[in-house]
């Protein structure tokens, strides 16, 4: 139980996928323009990451390892992720068309979101058990959500600020992202003992 709790908090704060590992930056900058879209997007990522962790762990354990086909890891994992993203996309198109439109290209891009692949591969590298990998996948998604929601809040405020012309848009967003990332460095060492 203690291990599980440590995985959750360590993943969300200390090893935040976006802010400490710098994974999934593309969609992080792309979808953080407003709060409600960013919540929808991270909801999709949480779902994909959690299910992907479970399925890829099973694939690794019961197909790749027994046949010693570990070199197929990347391509099979991407296959799993792509299929999951497709499911999310079909579901959203039907049930949440407004969000589907707002996310646009970023939704299919979850397929190539390195954060999702990283979760799957880290599960294997760290020898997590099945339960641990699901928890790791879920909290990885939540860490993405935390980063995205915080940053969307900041960007909504930035819209209203008097920013020098040359900093408007992406430059100031990147500066802000750097500061948020620095702030999260404050969490490092939280679970050292």
């Amino acid at each position: 139980m203690k291990d599980i709790i440590i995985i959750v908090f360590a993943t969300i704060f200390v090893e935040n996928f976006v802010l400490s590992k710098f994974l999934g930056i593309c969609s992080f900058l792309g979808v953080s323009k407003n709060l409600s879209d960013s919540i929808g997007m991270s909801g999709a990522v949480v779902f994909v990451m959690t299910i992907a962790s479970a399925v890829t762990w099973l694939v690794q354990e019961y197909i790749l390892d027994p046949l010693s086909m570990q070199y197929l890891q990347t391509i099979t994992f991407i296959l799993v992720i792509a299929a999951l993203v497709q499911v999310v996309e079909i579901f959203m198109k039907k049930s949440l068309p407004r969000l589907y439109k707002a996310l646009g290209i970023y939704l299919p891009l979850i397929t190539t979101n390195c954060a999702v692949l990283a979760v799957a591969i880290l599960n294997i590298q760290r020898d997590y058990t099945f339960l641990e990998s699901i928890v790791f996948g879920f909290s990885g998604g939540v860490s993405y959500m935390v980063a995205l929601v915080i940053f969307a809040g900041i960007r909504e405020r930035l819209e209203l600020c008097d920013i020098p012309e040359c900093f408007k848009g992406f430059p100031i967003s990147l500066v802000a992202a750097a500061f948020v990332s620095l702030a999260f460095m404050g969490f490092s060492g939280l679970f050292a003992g």
């Binding site: 790749l64 086909m69 799993v80 299929a83 079909i90 039907k94 209203l160």
Partner: protein, 275 residues
């Protein structure tokens, strides 16, 4: 040996691909947009098929598609009139009520000189920004701030700022509701356009407090409630609220309102020219 080295990984990937493909096929059947297609067909059957394009789409098929996919209004067919509107509404599962024309209305008339300012605001010219600073510079915390966030978001330019207050030019308003969403004070309400008698105040505070800051606000005297023959006016706290479906626009409440808070909203042609 060489052959198995190729066959095994190929069959793994192929097998997984097949499995996921089948899974996706099931899911896409389940969440298919196919159910939408049926509705399009049904609406096409209901429409007169004149392809007159009076609805603003290229023809009956385009309109039916727009109703299903883009949420176009169900009452645009001027050939079939209400009968068709009703049938389309049934197919879409929306109330025929919701097809009546809505209009946005700013529930505040605290023009310059009528209400005062708490402080001089010199920040970004935006209601959202101003409202974050002690709920805005208007002395009334429910009052319109007049920076025109609603006017900026209106696709039809149907909102103009007159003496510090946003006003909706109702004949132009299409009732999309973007302004109501944008307004940080939430004082823009979507009303049925036929209801032209309106309480132009959103302040539910006690009468003394309202009178102190605004000479146009609802003081909660309940005279309008008593005079209304249709029981259309109720008090929400100390703010009069008119039920637009009960109101017959008789105008008795307008006459009796001591603060002239209840107004009959009219738009003479000259008003529209100014816009």
């Amino acid at each position: 040996m060489m052959i198995t080295n190729i066959i095994i990984p190929a069959s793994i990937i192929g097998g997984m691909g097949l499995l996921f493909g089948l899974g996706l096929a099931v899911v896409s059947k389940k969440f298919a947009v196919a159910s939408n297609d049926e509705r399009i067909e049904e609406i096409i059957d209901v429409l007169p098929g004149a392809n007159c394009a009076a609805c603003g789409y290229s023809g009956c098929v385009a309109y039916a598609t727009a109703v299903v996919n883009e949420g176009a209004k169900t009452n645009l067919c001027s050939v079939g009139k209400e009968a068709v509107t009703k049938k389309i509404s049934e197919i879409m599962g929306v109330n025929a009520e919701s097809t009546e024309k809505l209009t946005a209305r700013v529930m505040c008339a605290g023009f310059e000189g009528i209400t005062t300012h708490k402080y001089e605001y010199e920040g970004v010219s935006s209601c959202i920004a101003a409202s974050q600073l002690h709920a805005g510079h208007s002395a009334c915390r429910y009052g319109c701030l007049g920076f025109g966030d609603c006017a900026a978001v209106c696709p039809l330019n149907a909102i103009q700022i007159t003496r510090g207050i946003a006003m909706v030019i109702e004949p132009i308003c299409a009732g999309c509701g973007l302004c109501a969403e944008t307004c940080p004070k939430k004082i823009i309400k979507m009303m049925p356009a036929h209801n032209i008698t309106s309480v132009t105040c959103s302040n539910g505070d006690k009468g003394v407090a309202v009178r102190h800051i605004c000479s146009h606000g609802c003081i909660g005297c309940t005279r309008c409630v008593k005079v209304c023959e249709y029981g259309a006016i109720t008090m929400s706290g100390s703010l009069a609220v008119i039920d637009p479906y009960k109101c017959q626009n008789c105008g008795k409440c307008v006459e009796v309102c001591p603060e002239h808070t209840i107004e009959t909203i009219t738009f003479a042609p000259c008003d529209r020219k100014e816009a």
